[in-house]
């Protein structure tokens, strides 16, 4: 790896690591409703909003009430977006000349569920399908709301682990508004201006027709890209303004803009580990989890980088000597910037890659796939990353406990039979939501007809990737898959919902049970869950369970492709 490339990755991880404590500490204070410097501006609005909705902020919710609020809120968001998209032509800024792809009921429904679950799987191209009104009012807003909702669920989960003999997990409405007003909105305001400074447009003019230097016609498409872009990544959603997403020069014009994007994706989820440690009163617990995340992140980075640098096997056989695989990559990012973005976004449940994954080498393209299959736990999505990692930890503690003959416990909370059943619910959801639809798709003409650019093992990988991405609420894609069909719009919706609610509901139920428990005192026999050995247990569990579940599928796709080439 070249020195600049190494520096790029190293400085990125260093920046994230340096921001974990301040950001994590701030989030802890925000959700504990302790004083912060923004209170002066925001408390009045917060109070007014809850008064308007007749919500008493002190009113705690049980896990069932919290989950219901979360689910109903998500469904309301879905219906709202669906309505806006279907009725797009009645709203302002609808230029019929540019918008040539129609929002059919299945596409609108798919997009609505997609954005309300932070998946932001886009079976459409922004340039030809959406008006600026839809991009902002329907989609950018959902990026905030869905991201904030996911963060709230994670906070409720952490409260479950850190409270004792409590029936309440907080108040969903309070958490939601706090996440939006204190965290996402201020950071988005700052971030979007940084992006404009780097060249991301913010205008309400949609198209500009011109004549190029050689006299050919070109139509430039612009829009309110900057305010959309920052929350796309900050809320770990990932759906881009344009079809080419993070590779489009108007979304990430410079390497520095790309760095802002990557930090926006990684910092808040990474910092939640510190928030957890703080709420628990034992920061080491948080740092150990952060260490696991970094280890997984670096492993993926190393493998992907190696594979892409080695270049395309087919091209080498054709006698073409090319330095690294640059197909589907942008010059300003190069190979290293593209790989870093791919690893950050696939781990971050954010689909905003800046290069074409479909054109990656077999093993290079397998890395984002594996990152998602392992549960997106290396920083992860906003809220879902830490929760996912903790569930893996519980699984590991359970296995370890079985081997030694002790009741597994974490942070003084007993992981008993019911708790394990809830963990298993989530663990079983992933093969169900990923492998079953993939199998269905490759056996039916409806599924196979979407393969437009690749067939065989690479086509199989495209399909597997699609359902993995939707279940993982990621949204990135091997774009050769023509996914705007009734089959895929419907099937991916199911995967997305299982991924979102299949994690949130068991997690909240677990939190409810934990909160009701007392805290077991630490004895000489307690397995220290802030130790290096614990980190190894978590890592090992993630890799082994992931491998056992998905290795066969990977053999049919990327591994076969690599061995054949």
């Amino acid at each position: 790896m070249s020195l600049p490339g190494l520096l790029q990755d190293g400085v990125f991880l260093l920046c994230v690591s340096l921001l974990v404590r301040p950001a994590g500490g701030y989030m802890a204070r925000v959700f504990e409703r302790k004083p912060t410097f923004l209170d002066r501006f925001l408390r009045p609005s917060e109070a007014a909003l809850h008064r308007l909705m007749r919500v008493a902020p002190e009113q705690e919710m049980t896990w069932g009430e919290y989950a219901s609020a979360f689910i109903v809120f998500s469904l309301c968001g879905t219906v709202f977006v669906y309505g806006l998209l279907r009725l797009q032509r009645f709203f302002p800024w609808h230029d019929a000349e540019r918008i040539t792809t129609s929002m059919t009921p299945d596409l609108a429904f798919n997009t609505a569920v997609s954005f309300a679950t932070t998946t932001t799987w886009q079976a459409y191209a922004g340039e030809t399908t959406l008006s600026n009104w839809s991009q902002l009012v329907a989609l950018a807003s959902q990026n905030f709301l869905a991201g904030a909702a996911g963060l709230s669920v994670a906070i409720a989960f952490l409260r479950g682990l850190t409270r004792e003999k409590s029936a309440g997990l907080g108040n969903f409405w309070v958490d939601l508004v706090r996440a939006v007003l204190w965290i996402l909105l201020p950071l988005s305001l700052l971030g979007s201006l940084l992006l404009v400074w780097q060249g991301v447009p913010v205008t309400f003019r949609s198209t500009t027709a011109l004549s190029t230097l050689e006299g050919r016609a070109q139509v430039l498409v612009t829009g309110p890209v900057a305010p959309f872009e920052i929350i796309k990544n900050l809320g770990t959603n990932g759906g881009g303004f344009f079809n080419a997403n993070g590779g489009h020069p108007y979304e990430a014009p410079t390497p520095l803009a790309n760095s802002f994007h990557m930090l926006a994706i990684a910092v808040l989820p990474a910092s939640l580990t510190y928030t957890f440690g703080r709420l628990l009163g034992r920061p080491r617990h948080g740092w150990v989890l952060y260490g696991v995340m970094v280890a997984l992140f670096i492993a993926g980075l190393a493998v992907c980088h190696r594979a892409e640098t080695a270049g395309s096997p087919a091209l080498r056989r054709a006698g073409l000597e090319l330095s690294g695989n640059l197909e589907g990559k942008e010059v300003r990012f190069g190979l290293e910037g593209s790989v870093l973005a791919t690893v950050t976004t696939s781990n971050g449940a954010t689909g905003s890659t800046n290069s074409g994954l479909d054109s990656y080498t077999p093993i290079g393209g397998m890395v984002p796939l594996v990152n998602m299959l392992l549960g997106e736990i290396a920083f992860g999505g906003l809220g879902t990353g830490l929760v996912g990692l903790l569930l893996v930890a519980f699984l590991g503690l359970f296995a370890a406990g079985l081997m030694v003959g002790k009741t597994p416990e974490y942070a003084g909370k007993t992981i008993g039979q019911t708790e394990m059943k809830l963990v298993m619910l989530y663990t079983l959801a992933s093969p169900l939501a990923v492998l079953v639809p993939t199998a269905l798709a490759v056996r039916t003409p409806a599924g196979l007809s979407a393969l437009t650019t690749n067939t065989g093992t690479h086509g199989f990988t495209e399909i597997l990737f699609a359902f993995t991405s939707c279940f993982a609420n990621n949204g990135q894609t091997f774009a050769g898959l023509a996914a705007n069909s009734i089959f895929y719009n419907a099937a991916t919706v199911i995967a997305m919902m299982i991924g979102r609610f299949g994690l949130a509901v068991p997690a909240l139920a677990l939190a409810g049970r934990f909160a009701a428990q007392g805290r077991r005192p630490e004895t000489a026999g307690t397995f220290p869950t802030d130790s290096f050995l614990f980190a190894l247990v978590v890592l090992g569990t993630a890799l082994i369970v992931g491998a056992l579940t998905f290795f066969p599928a990977l053999c049919l796709g990327p591994i076969a492709e690599q061995l054949r080439s």
């Binding site: 400085v11 939006v180 991301v200 205008t203 498409v221 020069p249 108007y250 690479h458 050769g480």
Partner: protein, 192 residues
């Protein structure tokens, strides 16, 4: 029922803030402080807009730097249809088109046995990549010099003026903006 009502109200009220007030504030501040960038970084020449600094365009005239291959739209570099080839690494069609591009590129430097710069023969994911790597630009200098009737060194001097280095020395890659370089070629070495 009460829950549904409450949820809907929160969605609507927060959307007014997040889909209305917030973008308006960003728009106002963006247009105030960075007007050209906020509007798309348009480039003008001889009184008319010829493109954007950030959006690539195709060039066919041998006197200009040619951009990377593009899969955006029928003829490439169509911003209304941004995208890449999305062809996998073991795809036979992709290998063929890259081989053809390599053959074309070799015509610019007959006798040069070094590998052709990779970005010159591959497509970007956006299809509107405005840049070339410095190597890819230098590779074309001989052809441009021949077509314009000037020395290769003169062309290289113009290109070198437009090599943007890595940010802070390590972020991203060094790159050459094709449109800006071509405009400079016209300014310094005469319009074709």
């Amino acid at each position: 029922m009460k829950l549904i009502l409450r949820s809907s109200l929160y969605v609507i009220v927060l959307t007014v803030l997040l889909g209305g007030v917030y973008p308006a504030v960003v728009y106002g501040l963006g247009q105030l402080f960075w007007k050209d960038k906020a509007n798309g970084s348009f480039v003008t020449s001889e009184g008319r807009v010829v493109g954007s600094e950030l959006i690539g365009q195709g060039f066919k005239n041998p006197k200009y730097l040619h951009s990377r291959p593009s899969a955006a739209g029928k003829d490439g570099y169509d911003p209304t249809s941004s995208g890449g080839t999305n062809k996998g690494p073991t795809d036979a069609d992709l290998a063929k088109s890259i081989a053809a591009a390599v053959e074309e590129a070799r015509k610019d430097r007959p006798g040069d046995s070094r590998p052709v710069p990779a970005d010159l023969v591959t497509s970007s994911i956006s299809g509107v990549d405005p840049h070339l790597s410095p190597d890819a630009a230098f590779w074309q200098a001989a052809r441009i010099a021949g077509a314009r009737g000037v020395t290769e060194e003169q062309v290289l001097a113009v290109i070198r003026r437009h090599v943007e280095p890595r940010t802070f020395g390590f972020l991203g890659e060094p790159r050459v903006n094709v449109l800006l370089t071509n405009l400079d070629l016209d300014r310094s070495l005469g319009r074709p």
